[in-house]
């Protein structure tokens, strides 16, 4: 009996080229579509239609209104909180802290306080957002955490030009 080719191992030739092709195509796709998205954050605003008529806030705080006036080019011309002139958003924040305290402060009225933002129609939105930021809270420089001020923010009906 003749035994043939015992022990001889034929190497199976794997075709790597198609796989490498497709892998490189995938790689190029992901590299081309990759972009670093800047983190985005939110400010919650609850505004049911009947809110302004639903009654005054239950606490003793007077209703607060911030009035933002715009210059012709849409920049911020002036700012008033309850008829009091405000020069900067830092001053606005300090005033809000003095009025309502904050979460860590002695007064602790920030939870129930409510404020209405009344801005000119053509005011650039970035100024409104700066006001919302100043009203909502600030970053504690020592801990780096956000200290909340006023959570209930409403918007007045738009002022037509």
């Amino acid at each position: 009996m003749k035994i043939r080719n015992v022990g001889r191992e034929d190497k199976i030739q794997l075709q790597m080229t198609p796989m490498i092709d497709i892998v490189f195509q995938l790689l190029v796709f992901f590299v081309m579509t990759f972009k670093i998205a800047q983190p985005e954050g939110d400010f919650n605003i609850k505004m049911p239609l009947a809110a302004p008529k639903a009654g005054a806030p239950s606490d003793d705080l007077p209703p607060m209104t911030i009035r933002l006036r715009a210059a012709d080019d849409g920049s911020l011309a002036s700012m008033r909180l309850n008829e009091r002139n405000i020069e900067s958003f830092d001053q606005l924040r300090s005033l809000i802290i003095s009025l309502v305290g904050n979460e860590q402060g002695p007064m602790g009225d920030s939870v129930s306080a409510e404020i209405e933002i009344d801005s000119d129609y053509h005011l650039k939105y970035e100024h409104t957002m700066a006001a919302v930021t100043a009203i909502s809270g600030h970053t504690d420089p020592t801990t780096g955490s956000v200290v909340k001020l006023i959570d209930k923010i409403r918007f007045a009906p738009p002022r037509r030009r």
């Binding site: 892998v23 490189f24 998205a37 800047q38 954050g41 650039k124 409104t128 930021t133």
Partner: protein, 148 residues
């Protein structure tokens, strides 16, 4: 005279394993980092910056993203329109929600407005949404650039 044997023409076999390893790792890296939330973003919109705006802790149940460009065009659910047509699209969305047995009060309207858009138009968006029954709103801002 002895004729030398012709040289064997064996192909040089490079070891492809490290390259394939590395390539797969790169693909895995990009796949993990790919941003699937791009669908709700509009690259034309430059959001205002806020240093205390934080990403939401939990995902919204029924989010509706409204984009407002600096030219006053509204983009809602893939359609771009002027402000006067926005209400019609909102009513259609409310009808779709009702057909699905959902309540409009469960919806959170995410407003992504350009920093140079007019504040009055943002207020108009909120007003139109209020008229059609939406109550929850979210103003979106971007965190400051860490590089300054």
């Amino acid at each position: 005279m002895r004729i030398p044997e012709p040289k064997r023409s064996d192909l040089a076999e490079g070891d492809l394993t490290p390259m394939i390893d590395m390539t797969f790792q790169l693909i895995a890296f990009f796949m993990v980092l790919i941003n699937f939330t791009d669908a709700e973003q509009d690259q034309r919109i430059r959001l205002p910056v806020s240093d205390i705006a934080k990403p939401p802790d939990t995902a919204f149940i029924e989010p509706r993203t409204v984009h407002l460009t600096d030219r006053g065009m509204v983009s809602f659910r893939g359609d771009e329109m002027p402000m006067v047509e926005f209400e019609r699209h909102l009513r259609r969305d409310v009808q779709e929600l009702r057909n699905r047995g959902k309540s409009v009060t469960d919806v959170t309207v995410i407003i992504r407005a350009d920093k140079n858009a007019m504040s009055g138009q943002v207020q108009e968006i909120m007003q139109e949404c209020q008229r059609t029954g939406y109550e929850r709103f979210v103003l979106r801002a971007k965190s400051p650039d860490p590089g300054g």
